[in-house]
Symmetry: C2
Subunit: 420 residues, 2 copies
């Protein structure tokens, strides 16, 4: 931890920079080309009460009818429809009330000619009856009923399976479960749902200047922001973060951590040391022990990002600067995690149109990620552009992407803002 002698400074190598950078599109294409290799997403059973928002792993076919019996759709009287023919308020027809049918408590007998059974909405239809005469078309005295209207056969009767038919596909694989889906699943007797397992995402944070979350920054050290941020991003995207402590910033420790993590995790994220210096171990380790597919991307921030394969896992190399880390996560790692979790790969950010209050300058050949504040329908660029200033993303309401074929946007341009 002491200053190194000048002849040994690692900057000599790092300072060479990237020989060439890939475009953002090439990086995304590479990710998408890898996804089919990981498309057999594992599934798991989870309690129905914990399954809302999860992604169904398989079609759900009901093995029961809901309801399992014919039921009344009205409060009224179950009877034989033909016996009401001709009934009007001026020609009331008499019935004898022979009992009642209530939800969960059916009438156990049969409705014979001339009889009616008082019935509640949702209650089972008694044998013999084939229609329900609504209460407002009746008059009652004790067990005598006067029908003052007609009903046709089947009227006001909900039939077996009217909600769910046995054998029908109720919900399809890849559906995101909604509250009402949970209700329907419960109604057919499920207590569990088979959902896509959340991909386990190993988060390895390196950097000799870092103190672990929960420690106040002191002296010349800063407290890790990337670990907790990535943890939250992974959860947002449907992943299961696995985050051991900070990884010492040397080749052997990082290799050991990557190897151990790749045994249990589906995807690896390495934050810090992602550039081209000799202290930037992660790209070298991926290149040596796996496959470094992309390293150096024509974007700002996040240019020193990379990705590849390590022990047959997708690995994303994220810059240590927190804004770069967030941006590289959102462009690349998040896409893969959403795919692994069965979600739409697109950004989970809502988009709004807004008018730029002042120009946003970029450079052709590079994608820019510019934070903006929304004031009504105006987007005010955040003047601090440093990739180390994470508060530029907390004071911002969202960000604007300037594509690589653009030199930026003039003031007053209507642009699309992705809302954080």
């Amino acid at each position: 931890m002491n200053p190194m002698p000048p002849n040994n400074v690692s900057s000599d190598v790092r300072m060479k920079g990237f020989a060439s950078r890939k475009t953002v599109e090439e990086a995304i294409e590479w990710i998408d080309s890898q996804l089919p290799n990981f498309s057999n997403l594992p599934s798991e059973e989870v309690s129905l009460l914990e399954s809302c928002g999860r992604i169904l792993a398989a079609d759900v076919v009901s093995s029961v009818n809901v309801p399992g019996f014919n039921r009344s759709m009205m409060d009224g009287f179950a009877l034989r429809a033909t016996e009401t023919h001709g009934a009007t308020p001026y020609n009331p027809l008499p019935f004898k009330i022979s009992g009642g049918s209530f939800p969960g408590s059916p009438f156990s007998g049969t409705v014979f000619p001339g009889q009616a059974v008082c019935i509640m909405t949702g209650a089972p239809m008694p044998d013999g009856a084939n229609a329900v005469l609504p209460v407002e078309n009746t008059e009652r005295q004790g067990d005598s009923l006067l029908a003052m209207g007609e009903v046709s056969a089947g009227k006001h009767v909900g039939s077996v399976g009217e909600d769910v038919q046995s054998g029908s596909t109720l919900l399809s694989a890849r559906r995101t479960l909604r509250p009402q889906d949970i209700g329907v699943l419960s109604s057919i007797g499920c207590s569990q749902a088979l959902v896509i397992r959340r991909p386990r995402v190993g988060i390895l944070i390196t950097g000799n200047e870092l103190l672990p979350c929960g420690t106040a920054p002191r002296d010349y050290q800063i407290t890790d922001a990337n670990g907790p941020m990535l943890h939250s991003l992974v959860k947002r995207d449907g992943g299961q973060p696995v985050m051991p402590g900070l990884v010492p910033d040397d080749r052997e420790s990082l290799l050991a951590s990557m190897a151990a993590m790749s045994e249990s995790a589906d995807i690896l994220l390495v934050s810090g040391g992602s550039s081209v210096g000799q202290d930037d171990h992660a790209p070298q380790l991926v290149a040596t022990h796996g496959m470094l597919a992309i390293h150096g991307i024509a974007m700002r921030p996040s240019s020193p990002a990379g990705m590849g394969l390590f022990n047959n896992r997708l690995v994303f190399l994220l810059p240590g600067n927190p804004v770069s880390c967030l941006c590289a996560y959102d462009f690349f790692a998040g896409r893969a995690i959403r795919a692994f979790s069965g979600r739409n790969t697109e950004w989970p950010y809502r988009r709004v149109q807004a008018k730029l209050t002042r120009k946003l300058v970029s450079t052709v050949g590079r994608v820019d990620y510019a934070r903006v504040k929304l004031i009504g329908n105006n987007a005010e660029p955040i003047s601090i552009s440093g990739a180390s200033i994470l508060t530029s993303t907390t004071s911002a309401d969202g960000f604007v992407i300037i594509p690589s074929n653009s030199e930026g946007y003039a003031a007053e341009t209507i642009i699309e803002v992705f809302l954080y």
Copy 2:
């Protein structure tokens, strides 16, 4: 559970119907009028890693600067700016490299006149130096450096507190925590966040026809859909569901359950028995032991919904029919739960414009909640309108609200769809 004798059928009372119904607007006004009485939302400390998406209970003021030291913004050489004056590629000026400063590992000496310290991005600025000359403006041989460009004082130096200033308000109360907020909170040393406690929402499910979740429906019984659905809705809206088993559908059991639940829960939901029959215990209990503010609402479905106060808790009476239950939850209970959890009270549904494929008929004086399927930009009304058919809400993509002053919409009308 046997059919009751005809002289004792509960339908006699129920069938009277509501004497008068309140409007949806009146019900919402009543909820909003109650919210100020519950505005002191309790807070709790949660682990930072569990706090994303939660609502901050208080402003966060930093007690530290981030970074706590001046740092380099470039890879290059820390030196005294005035000593570079006049340096160009044609007039290189010599410096002696006296050491290196690396992230977390500062140069411990002082940069004296004629000296430079090799420095990496993010590394602490050494004493004596006040600027960083980028590496691309230098040439180096061993410990000899040639400066081939000028820098002014402060150039490429990030100063103490440039990300976070000690004493500044970093995040404001009522903010929904984002991943980058979690990063910033970690960077100032937090391991916990003070967030609004999730309101505890007691869910009481009644209905003699019901079997508990996890049981296959059989005979004349159906399996509870409302409990698991409400559980999911409450979680979606930031509440903490508390759901004991099914409550027996008698006055004493329900009163005892409501009383017990109201000791620990912030809000009560009672599903089933919400209408005006003598077996509809919930409204009677609220009227007798608390205050029944609203009972019967001019809407379809959900007309037999109610709300009031019980043991100083807000209580919502939700119809047992599952579509009515969902709709009444969304119109009324969800609004209160979102308010209690510190969220926006509006519906969490995304809205889109769509063209009706056929007319939607309603009645003036009543709000209608109509499920629709989206096919491209067209909204196809779901033909099944029964409040008992929960699958009408799972086959639908969203719903349309027909306000009480409308008789409905003609085919081809552009309407607003709330997406489930």
